[in-house]
Each structure stands twice: as structure tokens, then as C-alpha cells.
């Protein structure tokens, strides 16, 4: 199993969710995060003092998938989240040693 972590632009969340549902992915967990990267934050002004806002709002999606689905999922996320503009985000894929569904105690791929 893999844990796929994707950091995307917030307004792409819905498109990504739809793409994943299309692949039969039934679940995911979403976190509001702040991203720092090549995309420069805006300059804000507060009471006559300018300052750089270096962090930009992003959304992080975590999806546990069976390993054979991983590439497909990464592909689908990348396609749905892409605007081609700087700041589109990243996808990371990690290994999961064990997964459990709390409700039923099912483990492994059945838990997803």
C-alpha cells in the first residue's frame, strides 16, 4: 500500500476529488496548509509597512491506495490539478506498512 500526499492549489480540490472518484477511490483526507516554494507570495501592506507573505494557501490531500493503483492515482491527480502555472504543487508517494479500518478492524487493502 502507498500513502500518496499531494499538495495542490485550493481551487483544484474539487477537480481532483472528481478525478479520483472516477478511478474508484473512495476516500481521502484533506488538510489546509501553507506552501512555500518557487511561486512567490504576494507583497502585502499593513499600515504603511510592506511585507512579503512567503506562504501561500494550499491544500494537502492524503490518499492511501493499494500499490498497484499508485501510479494511476498520481497521474490522475497531476492531470486534474495542473494549471501549468507556477505553484501547482507536488505529489509524494510513501509506503504504508499497515492499514486498519477503525470501524471493522479490517486490515490491509480491505481497510481502504
Amino acid at each position: 500500500m502507498n500513502l500518496i500526499i499531494a499538495v495542490i492549489k485550493p481551487f483544484k480540490l474539487e477537480a481532483v476529488r472528481e478525478a479520483l472518484t472516477g478511478l474508484g477511490i473512495a476516500g481521502m483526507t484533506v488538510t489546509e496548509v501553507q506552501g512555500y516554494g518557487r511561486q512567490k507570495g504576494q507583497t502585502e501592506i499593513y499600515r504603511g509597512a510592506e511585507y512579503e507573505v512567503s506562504f501561500l494557501p494550499k491544500v494537502k490531500i492524503e490518499i492511501a491506495v493499494a500499490s498497484d493503483m499508485a501510479d494511476q492515482v498520481i497521474e490522475a491527480i497531476a492531470t486534474a490539478a495542473r494549471t501549468g502555472q507556477i505553484g501547482d504543487g507536488k505529489i509524494f508517494c510513501l509506503d504504508i506498512g499497515k492499514a486498519v479500518r477503525i470501524r471493522t478492524n479490517e486490515a490491509g487493502a480491505d481497510a481502504l
Binding site: 485550493p10 481551487f11 480540490l13 474539487e14 477537480a15 489546509e32 494557501p57 491544500v59
Partner: protein, 477 residues
């Protein structure tokens, strides 16, 4: 009651201050009557002043509805904020409609010394504005019906104020009583059963007990004094809330197995602070316009004294609470300070005229101190009062009413006690019955699941702050 002058003379009760002799002035009619031989135009001026006092007082008290809404929105948890907003604007609306349909006539139609007024539906203004021809010109004049049922031209001297201004002013008071209830039973009560309770409270319970005193019923005849409603409005709301809180039970998780209190901090303390300030400013109308007359030096002085006393009781309540919580907990509890200011206001409401400023300060300070002890006490009794309305309105309301004889020698502790107990018993019992009927019929409490997901989603299908974090939309931008 509000329509006759209390003819009592006070002896100063607070030593050390430069004291003055006060006399409680409750009414306009006599005050007008005694002004020596005024010309018609002067009576009209007084009439306008009195009306204006009601209107200014009325919009200030109406504004208190916003204060209750903000106070309660700030003290409930986020998941219940939208619903408490709806409850507050809804109950204010219902209170007005019920007072129009039934309440006012029931309250002010009671016979002198009586127990219950007439069930006449639909209040209407007593004046008619008509166009008549005067010296060949069309002129608008006001008419009223005389005792024989004939239309006669309104003589302002004989009347006092526009009837709608009085109605408006009395109406906004009803909503205050209902607002108190919503704060106590928040976060778990079902919306429509709550609204039904408000219908009964504002259409029947409040007006009936109100008629006993302000309607010149039996309590007034007995000499009970409650200038602006420590008992009639605030305790009444408190008793109705208490009955509800007892029947509905505490919020899930509020008291754990070992009887410990688990605090459930409110969503927004600045909103709660704003609500308190709104209530404070509205209270100038609540107490000040309860003088019911403005158009003479005596009444102007009285209203001015009431403003000063009202403010200082609140200030003292606030400071007393700040000091008490600092001493007791080493930290100052803002929510207690807010409740303390309100308790000061409730305390002075039974008699804001006769105390000197020093006495008002003492009365308010005691109110503030009471709150600091009452809040944990209700928790010990496992009566879950979300916003502290029982401590503020019921406890301080009783205190304020019982404190009247300290500064108003025309009153007695016994009569005050009779008033407090009889109104308390009536309101508590009737409210209990109504809540009970609602409980066994429609049910008054959200399901556990609904309560856990929050009444906003359960009852309104919306959230008070629907955006996640800093504003990512659940749906694409």
C-alpha cells in the same frame, strides 16, 4: 406599577455620601395633573416629550435583542452559532407578534387589583388621525373615543402619550424575557419546540404575571415595587429558563461521571463582549424610559438620575467581578466580567431611581459578586446554563428586587418577597408544564447525533463559518 405615582418618601440609606431625599416617580399622569394651570400648548409639549421618551427607550431596548444575539453567539460553540442567531431574531419577531395578538391586552386590560386580564385579540392604537375642515382649510386632528363611545378630539393633557409609543416600549420588553431563555437552553434545544415555548411565554405567561404589577393588578395593590423589571422581566425569563434547563438536561459531556464540570468555551469572546456593550447601552432605554414621562423638570431629573445609576451599577458589577475572579482564580475571567456588568444592570433595574449613585454602586457590586458564586453553583446542581443567564437574570433579578427597600422606604421586604415568590412560582410552574407538554409531545431535545454534529447542521443545514480554515472553499472557488 407604572401608572400611579408612588407617594412614598425615602430616607437616605447610604452613609458617607452627600445624600439627597428621593421620591420614586412612577408616572406621568399625575405629574402632569399637578403642574399648575398649564396652557393647552404646554400639555401638548409634555405629550410629545413622553412619546419621544418611549420611542427612544423603545429603540434602545429593541437594540438589546441584537445584544442577546451577539452575547449568545459568542458563548455557544461554533457548531451552534447560526442557530442561536436564528433563534434570537425569530424570538424577537414572535414576541412582537404575540404581544400584538394577545399579550398587551392581557397585561394592561386587567382590572385594578386583579389576577388576569381579558383575552381580547389584536391590540390597536386608541387615537384616530382624521382630516377635518377648520376655517376652510383641511387640517389633521387626533380623535379618541370617550366613555360613551363617541369620537372626541384628543386633549393631549388628558392622555399623556401616543398609545403606540407605549405599546412599542412594552413590546420590546417581552422579547427581553424570551431572549434570556434561549441562552440557557442553547446548543441542545430543538428549534420549533423552542419557538412554541416562546409563543406561550410571550403571549400568556409574561403578560399575566406582568399584569399583576404593571397592569395595576394585585401585586401593585399590595405595594410591590419593580421599577423596570428585575422580577417582571429578568427573573421571569430566568424562571422560564430554569424550568427548561431542568427538563432538557445538560449538554452531552458537560458533566462527567465523577460530577466534574467540563468547560465548553464559547466560540468568540469579542462577539460576547460586543453583545454586553449593546445590552449596556440598551439598558439606558430599559430603565430610563421606564420613568414613563419626560416632560417636566421632575421627570427629566428622574430620568437623568436613572441613567447615572444604571451606568454605575453596571460599572460596579463589572469591577466587582474582575476583582473577585482575580482573587479566586488568580486570573480574570472575561466572561464573568461581562456577566458581572449585566448582573449590575439587572440588580439596579428594580429600583434605578431612588438610590444615590453610591447606593447604586453597592447594589450593582453585590450583583456582580453573586454571579461569581452562582455560576459554579448551578454547575454543581448540574443545571447546564450555557451563557450564565440564570446567574445574571434570575439571581441578580431577585437580589435587585429584594434590595429595593434599602433605598425606597415606601416598600417593604415582605411585600418584595411576596412578589418575588409569587411571580417565581407562577412562571416556574407554568413554564415547567409547557416544557413538559412539549417534551412528551414533540420532544424538546436534539438527538445525540444532532447535538454532536451541531444544531446548525441539524436544524438549518448550514454553518456559521462555512469556510474551512482561511477560506478554501468546499466547492471550487
Amino acid at each position: 406599577m407604572r401608572f400611579k405615582t408612588k407617594m412614598t418618601r425615602l430616607t437616605p440609606t447610604v452613609g458617607g455620601l452627600r445624600t439627597v431625599q428621593w421620591v420614586s416617580i412612577g408616572a406621568v399622569l399625575l405629574a402632569i395633573a399637578v403642574v399648575p394651570a398649564q396652557a393647552a400648548s404646554d400639555a401638548e409639549t409634555v405629550y410629545v416629550f413622553n412619546t419621544l421618551l418611549f420611542l427612544i427607550g423603545g429603540f434602545l431596548v429593541m437594540w438589546m435583542a441584537a445584544g442577546f444575539a451577539m452575547l449568545e453567539a459568542g458563548l455557544v460553540r461554533t457548531k451552534n452559532v447560526a442557530e442561536i442567531c436564528l433563534k434570537n431574531i425569530g424570538l424577537y419577531s414572535i414576541a412582537g407578534l404575540m404581544y400584538f395578538i394577545l399579550g398587551y391586552n392581557l397585561m394592561y386590560g386587567v382590572s385594578e387589583g386583579g389576577y388576569i386580564g381579558p383575552f381580547d385579540v389584536f391590540w390597536s392604537a386608541s387615537e384616530m388621525l382624521k382630516t377635518v375642515m377648520v376655517d376652510g382649510e383641511e387640517v389633521v386632528q387626533a380623535f379618541v373615543l370617550d366613555e360613551a363611545g363617541n369620537e372626541v378630539r384628543l386633549e393631549p393633557a388628558a392622555d399623556g402619550y401616543a398609545s403606540s409609543s407605549d405599546w412599542f416600549f412594552q413590546m420590546v420588553f417581552v422579547a427581553t424575557a424570551a431572549s434570556i431563555v434561549s441562552g440557557t437552553v442553547a446548543e441542545r434545544v430543538k428549534l420549533f419546540p423552542f419557538f412554541i415555548f416562546v409563543v406561550v411565554l410571550t403571549g400568556l405567561i409574561y403578560p399575566i404575571q406582568g399584569s399583576w404589577e404593571w397592569g395595576a393588578g394585585w401585586l401593585d395593590a399590595m405595594g410591590f415595587a419593580d421599577f423596570a423589571g428585575s422580577t417582571l422581566v429578568h427573573s421571569t425569563g430566568g424562571w422560564a429558563a430554569l424550568a427548561g434547563a431542568m427538563l432538557i438536561g445538560p449538554r452531552i459531556g458537560k458533566y462527567d461521571g465523577q460530577g466534574r464540570v467540563r468547560p465548553m468555551p464559547g466560540s468568540s469572546l469579542p462577539l460576547a463582549t460586543l453583545g454586553t456593550f449593546i445590552l449596556w447601552v440598551g439598558w439606558f432605554g430599559f430603565n430610563g424610559a421606564s420613568q414613563l414621562a419626560l416632560g417636566s423638570d421632575v421627570n427629566a431629573i428622574a430620568v437623568a438620575n436613572i441613567f447615572a445609576n444604571t451606568n454605575m451599577a453596571a460599572a460596579a458589577g463589572c469591577i466587582a467581578t474582575i476583582g473577585m475572579t482575580k482573587v479566586m482564580y488568580q486570573k480574570v475571567d472575561l466572561t464573568m466580567a461581562l456577566n458581572g456588568a449585566l448582573a449590575g444592570l439587572v440588580s439596579i433595574t428594580a429600583e434605578p431611581l431612588t438610590p444615590s449613585i453610591g447606593a447604586a454602586v453597592l447594589i450593582g457590586a453585590v450583583g456582580g459578586v453573586l454571579v461569581v458564586f452562582a455560576v459554579p453553583l448551578f454547575d454543581k446542581l448540574k443545571i447546564d446554563d450555557v451563557v450564565g443567564a440564570l446567574s445574571v437574570h434570575l439571581v441578580a433579578g431577585i437580589w435587585g428586587t429584594m434590595a429595593v427597600p434599602f433605598t425606597n422606604s415606601g416598600t417593604s421586604f415582605l411585600t418584595q418577597l411576596i412578589g418575588v415568590v409569587s411571580i417565581g412560582a407562577f412562571v416556574f410552574v407554568t413554564s415547567y408544564v409547557v416544557w413538559m407538554i412539549l417534551k412528551v409531545s414533540l420532544g424538546i431535545r436534539l438527538s445525540g447525533e444532532e447535538e454532536e454534529s451541531g444544531s446548525d447542521v441539524a436544524e438549518l443545514g448550514m454553518e456559521a463559518y462555512p469556510e474551512f480554515g482561511r477560506g478554501t472553499q468546499k466547492l471550487a472557488s
